[in-house]
Symmetry: D2
Subunit: 343 residues, 4 copies
């Protein structure tokens, strides 16, 4: 039996339709840096999918790069970005945000989510502090949808956060590296268009959702990022053959492909959760998207990892560990059922 891989959602290449399109267009000549017709078409389709004719759309290559470029472009030098302790920018980006000169102001989260109350309290105390001129100004808010723990904000929760942001006139930025898996989740009741309205800047993740690579940044009409093209270049995110991004997002936003393939990951993840619960395993938290966090005994882990590859999340106690199983647009029913047999 071949080994099973549930480590992450970036283990395969791209959706076959994307590769097909890359083949078809391979020897065409286009201008670079996103000025080609494929990028224009993809931008148009994304604007339409977001219900925002006047949004600006930019393509970058990867997630850390996108977070860094957007955050550094939105903030002034005396400002920092608010994020939860477990946020990707807080922990897993090798200090990329700080390397551009900005503090990540870490607030406690709940199941990976920022609570509007936590945010409001922080901002209230900050602005009431007579010494705040000696402190980093909170200049924007970063959240992710889904979060690092696979959880989702409801429409109401997102709107509450956005309301606090508008009250303090700071932009809300949503990291959508796994956006498709959030939108496709059964629990989710928010459309792409509603999400776009409830924040100021967000990105649609391609790398983890069917593309070879690529993230599409959507700047909503009310927001201005001056010279963002130059900022992307400066941060090393400007792809010479920009059309590769255009072709991929154009394909993903044709005939709802993005959402359809995201749905597969959800079906597979739900089945894994079902199997885990059936077999009496204890879920670490209820994640409605494509990441499943479960507590396993270290003995079980040892046995399992000969045949299955997955991620270690954190130690629970001496004998138990929280691990993560991750599905993707490409995960098959066979893989999941085989995993079920091994559990």
């Amino acid at each position: 039996m071949e080994k099973l891989y549930f480590d992450s959602d970036y283990m395969e290449g791209a959706h076959p339709l994307i590769l097909e399109k890359l083949m078809q267009t391979n020897l065409e000549k286009t201008t670079g840096y996103g000025t080609d017709p494929y990028c224009e078409s993809a931008r148009e389709k994304i604007r339409k999918a977001c219900g925002m004719e006047d949004a600006e759309v930019f393509f970058l290559v990867g997630g850390t790069q996108t977070n860094t470029t957007v955050i550094d472009s939105l903030l002034r030098n005396y400002e920092g970005v608010i994020a939860v302790d477990s946020g990707h920018v807080s922990v897993h980006e090798a200090g990329a945000i700080e390397a551009t000169g900005h503090k990540v102001i870490q607030l406690p989260g709940q199941d990976g989510k920022l609570q509007a109350e936590t945010l409001e309290h922080y901002l209230t105390v900050f602005h009431a502090d007579a010494n705040n001129e000696h402190m980093v100004y909170p200049g924007m808010v970063y959240i992710s949808f889904p979060t690092e723990l696979g959880t989702l904000y409801t429409k109401e929760e997102l709107e509450q956060i956005h309301k606090v942001c508008r009250q303090y006139q700071i932009p809300l930025f949503v990291d959508g590296a796994r956006l498709g898996y959030g939108l496709a989740a059964e629990e989710n009741t928010m459309t792409l268009s509603e999400l776009a309205t409830a924040c100021d800047v967000f990105y649609i993740g391609g790398t983890k959702v069917g593309a070879l690579f690529g993230e599409a940044v959507v700047v909503t009409p009310g927001t201005k990022i001056p010279h963002f093209f130059t900022m992307i270049k400066q941060h090393g995110g400007l792809l010479a053959k920009g059309r590769l991004l255009g072709i991929q997002f154009d394909t993903l936003f044709t005939d709802d492909l993005y959402l359809k393939i995201s749905g597969n990951a959800i079906i597979r993840a739900n089945r894994i959760k079902e199997l885990l619960v059936q077999k009496g395993y204890k879920l670490f938290l209820n994640s409605p998207t494509n990441q499943i966090f479960v507590e396993l005994s270290n003995d079980k882990i040892k046995e399992l990892e000969e045949k299955v590859s997955f991620s270690f999340w954190e130690a629970k106690d001496e004998n138990h560990t929280i691990v993560r199983f991750c599905t993707s647009w490409a995960t098959t029913s066979e893989e999941v059922e085989t995993l079920g047999q091994l559990l």
Copy 2:
């Protein structure tokens, strides 16, 4: 009656002996940037006071500047500095550390102090994490003596922290903006020389302890900061008329002046604590140095602040606030007793 000021320890000018020396030498001509004989003499006296003939000594102008310059000079780009949540570099330096590209890795403190166990646990977990190549490397440890809350590390506590640092081969940097008040505290049993041995780099605060301004960085013999002079220049900390720093520290380290005048602040602070306790006020924590944190009712505060100036620390509840009274080398017995009558 004149208003009383207990806001901070930088409200007066300098110790009279310093001003006198500045007058005497005013029209002498010396070379700049710390190359003059006064700086050389001060360096020599500081080395002697630290019992470290081979230490390097550098003079900078202020605290934030010194912290930033030392930290940025000790760290590589992929590294951050560990500090407690309440550390000066974590909160009150306007993001100066992050502005140089480095994350402040904030750990929870206890009464403003970093616990060796907390540090060791963090480092153990970090180095055991298979994903740590995606994270900021802990490259040094920052603590302050006394802490922001006026508390002190015992010799044993400091040595334990240093031991953990050496185990992970990262330098320990001690912010001594109020060093004199720590050394002069009754509770303290550590000499300057012992402190110097139990860390890798530290500074002797002048601004808050009798000088007009100035901090003396001591780099212990085992530590190397390449091109530190150039780094000081780059960080805007190189004083053209460097002798002003030399003259001040030379005076402070002649006949133990630094410790003697620090002692005055302690005597005054202890008396304030005594008065507070006598009158039934509740101390927020036991601070053995020149900062006293006490809980006052908001009514009492309103009454008091017409005649006394002091600092608000944080709200306790709707009707009570933690406030800070701060003494210095210049605080007089009369000021303290008048305060006592008003309490």
Copy 3:
């Protein structure tokens, strides 16, 4: 007649063998970030092609990103990078190097090349300057092969520069965004292995030479870049699906594909030069690689640009402009001959 495109060398997709391999491997699952077998195989082939078993090889996505990451990783904070005025890092990277805190120390070049004498003179004067502690230290040298003007260093010229670098103990970094076109040029007498020996770090450009994207950084055995993986992550250059880079470079370094396809660009460029000279046009400089710089009258440009796309380089005088024609691995004989008819 279809329009002709000679704007740049990144107008097409990838060499067909690369796309084929991407198709074949598309649904395989591999671990991310360059830890997969394709990257390992590509690294091994590159090491062999360089004749350097102990070199370290890293894959990044684009040129500006690679320059920034390497330079920021090699330099200390008080150091800058020496480059010629026309260097890519001096002009066309949107301040990416400075954004990481380092000065580009610009020296005058000759036809895009740094002269060893110019370098040596600069370093001699710098080190003799009594005030150099107030200045940016020259910490490394950046050159490109071929240069921005398509010119090449001879083996002797490169070795002379390297000799000066070693004398001053600073690394020499060669930007090889168009490396293939340099190696394949008729004038060139240097092998990849000789180039690798005559510098400290260099990269093999994929984006402009047959790949969809990608640059392979070779760190020669004597050089150490600590935590370079983390630095790549921090600079946004770490591709999640790293195998895309591995697959591309593995293909390019199988059966000498990289050099073979580079040769095509040279043949096409040489033919264009021949046609230009035949027709009496004046070359701006003798570039032996895939970029041809020629002086055209503005009238001729107006006429030509309806049917041909090319780059404006700089105004010569009111009526004449220097333009650039660029060939690539994909340029066909038909395209070139049609251009000839239009000239």
Copy 4:
């Protein structure tokens, strides 16, 4: 005979009236960071001297710090600062500007001065360049008055530069580290108030003109630097005992002291020039302020430097060197005449 010192204009302490005032106020208690009445008074006097009631005035400690803080505060991340090749920010600030992420765009100067034509040509070419989105945007202009070579802009020259700046909507910043010596020069026909009108931000140098240290930044009414106080803190330029700066500038701007003492340096410098010319020495350039650049034979230098200390500027040829003599507010007639005898 005592040695003579003409190395620089920061070799003495402060004007006696400043020290006197520091003595008088030494034990007063004031709030910190520039919120005290002395700073307020000094700001008011400076506004009045500039004829600008609505200007904002900030005090910093030193020149490099001031340049870095102002420039980093005025620029956005994609912008750089234009300066001449010989500008202080280009050469002698240890890369402080680049350390904040900004390129110094170096243009050729003439006798240390930026020509309006050079500036206009650069900006015209930049804005006409179709690729300028890949380049650093020129975001402000930095000049100094007097320049590094002691030369002065005429009112017309300054206004022409300012006109170009306004045309391209970028601020003009004037480094006035030696402003007094510029205003007091015989050649100068510009008043402080006229200079203030012909730029957007400038600073009045104290360190080199009678103060112990300190630079007063004047932000003219049309210009906005958001959160400049916090930026000063972040850049390590916020002095805890801010009143030291207030007291010094208040004294310097009482009864025209600043201009009066500057005049002394000019009288002494003019006499040195007269002596040099009388004795047949060749001036390197005509500097109308307190720096005199002259060509000396290396033999003469060797003889002279036993009794006089001065600065080496640059080698002229094998046997001749350009040296600099510098006077200050404190230089005496005796010192100058003794120098005359030694020449």
